[in-house]
Point group: C2
Chain length 185, copies 2
């Protein structure tokens, strides 16, 4: 029996690093900022209420002069425990849904010229993302070198996911290049 949904854990994971408002959480989980989980604000506000009913988070009203007031959510001790327990719980294999692969599975039907254009376009998308991630990586390695050796610092965890994102995008872009050249030849 999970204490909350996966989205709930995503929110707890962000709040474990710093208290945030619903709007702030939505910023971080909206594409393209959310590297590996995403959600719109219409999903986040109700979820925060659930988490609060479950006593995993609590909010405090913060009045602002220059902007509308907001509710800032923070983890409770129980919320932190639940998150900590969840992170190393056995992970059930999730069904994959990759639309690019689904397209490629039927790409033999297309005109080869169209197929190459499609695949080269995908490659460009991922090369752009690689450049973006590389900038992040360089920044992180320069400014937080010390923390990247400490597996108990949040920065270490962020760095690990960034490395994975880079590896993923590189492998994908290279595969696109391989496929495009293979169709051409």
């Amino acid at each position: 029996m999970a204490e909350t949904s996966t989205l709930g854990y995503a929110l707890l994971g962000l709040l474990a690093r710093a208290p945030l408002s619903g709007w702030d959480l939505a910023q971080r989980l909206d594409m393209p900022a959310g590297y590996f989980w995403s959600a719109g604000h219409s999903q986040i506000y109700p979820e925060l209420k659930k988490l609060e009913r479950a006593k995993l988070v609590k909010h405090t009203k913060v009045e602002q002069r220059d902007r509308p007031d907001k509710k800032v959510y923070a983890l409770t001790a129980a919320g932190r425990r639940a998150l900590r327990r969840w992170v190393t719980t056995p992970l059930a294999p999730a069904p994959k849904r990759d639309e690019l692969m689904l397209r490629v599975y039927s790409l033999w039907l297309a005109d080869p010229a169209d197929a190459v254009a499609f695949v080269r376009d995908q490659e460009a998308v991922h090369r752009r993302r690689i450049a973006e991630y590389e900038t992040h990586q360089a920044d992180v390695e320069q400014h937080w070198a010390a923390e990247l050796d400490d597996p108990r610092s949040p920065r270490f965890a962020t760095y690990a996911t960034l490395r994975r994102g880079l590896g993923y995008e590189r492998e994908l872009a290279d595969w696109c290049a391989w496929l495009a050249s293979r169709i051409t030849s």
Copy 2:
């Protein structure tokens, strides 16, 4: 205006290669057989009815002596055209949802020993999948070498997705190994 849902295209993609019954389609889209799309039979049977109403597929009853009768679905000319059009249509960036990365993002909270065990376990899962895919790859390369050079053969498309699956799993397993050793040191 898409002519059908992504699941619909997944079914069309399978039927473009050979006519199949709902049950056969479910076999191919059930974990772990479906490499990059999955669906249960409760989603497939209604979807086939939708596709038939849209005249993208048609079924014929096939009586069997040794087994229950079945409905075998095949693409119509319109279905084939719709699929062909769809494969190279610009692909909208999809929101990512990767629970493993979500766990790792909060892994700094866990005891390092638990964290390493968790990551090593994940690595093992993906190494097993690599071994499986490698067997497939060897089979395909041996038996269908000629077709793998023809971008208009379905076998070529399957081979391309298999290569991608292998690249994905290798990158992931290697990243797990990197992370585990980084936590340990």
